[in-house]
């Protein structure tokens, strides 16, 4: 009896250590202290050892399973880089120097830019992935981004109280704004069958115009302001904590928004797979007939899904304003919507996967910029590589999808 209890306690302790190592290691790595990788590796080794023991598996089999899972995506990625290299070569640029600069810039020198780039993409990617799991296409995520940014800026410019109050309040308000913004498409869908692709897209353009007007009214009036088309700066009490307050050597712009994003991804994963509501969303998305037969109200779930997705996408704007810019810019062509779609599709709509594909996208952008500065290869090759990655990896899903259909 006592032996059992101590074994149980031991187990819990080991769990705790592994998670702690992971967390601290990740924290350091994000902050640019790359020794953090060693902590992560140690945690991985611990975890793998325990996993193998529990499942009574041999290392060989385990590696084989991983290999099978990674085979296709890795192959797709390599192929796209190869093709990208060929295109570079044909266009007269040196692929080896270009890739070298990209990898160094994206993964080492400007790692903080990679992180910063990925933050809004994780949010919009999560939004689209969640909607997709519910069988819906929240293509207008960019509009929800603007709504979140506007809410954050509005409050941040007017309310100056303790960060412990104002920051959560802004997050909640931004989320609600995004959620409410998607109510119209949701209701139009369940009542009139209107396709959410068009409705969310229209609202996205409306949001963009509204935000332009908003900026003019909040300090960006081209006639009267010193900083045209940019709002005034929000109160410092609303700024998200910077990493350099914890890790002094971290880049001065890096903020804890990345932790919020990763946290949200874990939350969404948990929500979808461990809660009733998330389960219902997935059932409706996969098999609406079965949902109906088992008494689930499909319209209610659709509205819920779209509103949740809207709220999450809005958080992208909130974090961008509170964490990075501390004001609102008119960045109309940032493409958070379309890049969010790419990130979600590449991750096969898995919330945890979105973290990694967003980082990949962020790295490609950061690396691309560094490459352009140092080797003078234009950044637009990154767009091509992104296109290739998207196409090749989607084609892989098509391949397995086709194989399944032949079986049936």
């Amino acid at each position: 009896m006592i032996k059992e209890k101590t074994a149980n306690l031991q187990n819990k302790l080991i769990n705790f250590i592994i998670i702690a190592l992971f967390a601290i290691g990740t924290f350091f790595v994000i902050g640019g202290v790359f020794i953090g990788w060693s902590l992560i590796v140690i945690a991985l080794i611990f975890w793998t050892y325990r996993f193998l023991k529990q499942e009574d598996m041999k290392l060989k089999n385990f590696l084989n399973i991983i290999y099978l899972k990674i085979k296709f995506p890795a192959f797709g990625l390599l192929l796209s880089f190869l093709l990208g290299g060929i295109i570079m070569y044909i266009s007269g640029y040196n692929p080896i120097r270009s890739y070298g600069a990209m990898i160094y810039g994206g993964l080492i020198k400007n790692w903080h830019i990679t992180i910063l780039n990925s933050i809004p993409l994780i949010f919009t990617g999560l939004s689209i992935a969640l909607a997709f799991k519910g069988g819906l296409f929240n293509i207008g995520a960019e509009g929800q981004y603007y709504i979140g940014a506007m809410v954050a800026t509005w409050i941040g410019l007017r309310v100056n109280i303790s960060p412990f109050i104002i920051i959560p309040v802004i997050f909640i308000a931004g989320f609600m704004g995004g959620a409410l913004f998607n109510v119209i498409p949701a209701i139009l869908k369940i009542k009139k069958g209107a396709h959410e692709v068009v409705t969310t897209m229209m609202l996205a353009y409306i949001a963009a115009i509204l935000s332009s007007l908003f900026i003019k009214f909040n300090g960006g009036n081209p006639v009267t302001s010193k900083h045209a088309y940019i709002t005034d700066t929000i109160f410092e009490s609303a700024w998200l904590t910077k990493f350099d307050s914890i890790i002094p050597s971290a880049n001065y712009r890096l903020h804890i928004g990345i932790l919020l994003a990763i946290g949200l991804a874990i939350l969404v994963q948990f929500f979808l797979y461990r809660t009733r509501l998330g389960f219902l969303i997935r059932v409706v998305g996969e098999s609406p007939q079965t949902a109906k037969t088992q008494g689930i109200s499909v319209p209610k779930i659709i509205v819920l899904t779209l509103c949740l997705a809207g709220g999450i996408a809005a958080l992208a704007g909130v974090t961008q304003v509170l964490g990075l810019d501390h004001k609102m810019f008119e960045n109309l062509n940032a493409g958070y919507g379309w890049n969010g779609i790419a990130v979600a599709l590449l991750a096969n709509t898995s919330p945890i996967g979105v973290i990694f594909t967003a980082l990949l996208w962020g790295a490609l952008d950061a690396g691309g910029q560094y490459m352009a500065r140092t080797v003078q290869t234009p950044t637009s090759i990154v767009e091509i590589i992104k296109g290739l990655v998207l196409f090749l990896l989607l084609a892989k899903y098509l391949f397995t999808y086709l194989k399944k259909r032949r079986k049936v």
Binding site: I184, K192, H195, V198, I209, N333, K386, G387, L390
Partner: protein, 314 residues
């Protein structure tokens, strides 16, 4: 009232028609494609690619007509690509459309830098199609309508001609009948030995062609260069026009004209700076109108029965 008269005058209607042209082309593209049973949300991306290639061709050769050919070719290629993804690879129509939109932005940006050396705006083309504006004798003497319709530039005329041809083909030719059946009840065609696949490829390819022309209009007829994102959501408004028009050519045209007019109105309000800083707000008009139209708040939504359903031939 003089105030209204200064906003809504002949200039306004001319602008309305001009602004409608790309929407009309994209909406009709959607109509044809969806009538055959394939959902198309990629008009935006196809138009953008058409716009770029048209500008490139016109800039490269100095001849805007070659530019137009480039644009048509590019648009058709994208259309066929969408067809391949949906018909042969059985990809989800909406996902394929989204991917094409993404590819549209990506490819145009890359080629921009490759060809012109920098993102943003392309070089100005030496000669625009607008220079080929001509009046149709006699018809242009008709008061009011004469100025609006018969004193126009080439693609506008091309659009008018295409509309008549397309409407004729859909309503009176055998192919038009088959296309209608392909979107309503493709099995019927199978039982009569007609290839659904062929019909759908033609429909989706041609919708790409129309989007290519629409894009060309934006860059080399209505303007003098290509700029990133110049389609500004027109592809999606066109989708709304098609839905509002009930998947018919005439309906799409009327809805597109309406959106074009709304667009023109918003622009005039902005240009005339009537409401000062608030003038910008009116730019949301076309999008709101599309929202209302698609929401079926005005017309009833009646898509082709087999739209979006994957069709497997044995």
């Amino acid at each position: 009232m003089n105030f209204i008269g200064s906003i809504i005058n002949t200039e306004f209607f001319i602008a309305a028609v001009r602004l409608s042209v790309p929407i009309i082309l994209a909406a009709v593209a959607a109509t044809i494609c969806e009538k055959a049973g394939i959902i198309n949300i990629a008009m935006e991306g196809m138009m953008l690619i058409g716009a770029f290639f048209a500008a490139w061709g016109a800039w490269l050769t100095g001849n805007p007509w070659i530019g137009l050919m480039f644009g048509i070719f590019a648009g058709t290629a994208m259309g066929l690509f969408h067809g391949w993804a949906t018909i042969d690879l059985h990809m989800n129509h909406v996902v394929s459309g989204a991917v094409i939109n993404i590819l549209g932005f990506g490819i145009t940006r890359y080629l921009m830098v490759l060809v012109f050396g920098h993102p943003g705006n392309s070089e100005q083309i030496p000669l625009s199609l607008a220079a080929f504006r001509f009046k149709i004798p006699l018809l242009n003497k008709i008061p009011f309508i004469g100025d609006i319709l018969f004193n126009q530039t080439p693609i506008v005329y091309l659009t008018i001609v295409l509309l008549f041809v397309i409407q004729w083909v859909l309503k009176r030719s055998a192919f038009g009948l088959h296309l209608h059946a392909a979107g309503e009840h493709p099995e019927v065609l199978a039982t009569l030995g007609i290839s659904v696949k062929k019909i759908r490829y033609i429909a989706v390819g041609f919708s790409g062609t129309l989007c290519g022309i629409a894009g060309a209009f934006l860059s080399i007829e209505n303007g003098l260069s290509f700029s990133e994102g110049m389609t500004s959501g027109r592809g999606f408004i066109a989708l709304g026009a098609n839905t509002a028009g009930g998947w018919s050519i005439i309906g799409s045209v009327i809805a597109s004209l309406f959106f074009g007019a709304v667009d023109a109105l918003a622009l005039r309000i902005q240009v005339l700076n009537i409401f000062d800083i608030y003038s910008e707000l009116f730019l949301i008009f076309p999008y709101v109108a599309a929202l209302i139209a698609v929401g079926g708040l005005v017309f009833k939504s009646n898509p082709p029965k087999a739209l979006g359903e994957d069709y497997q031939s044995e």
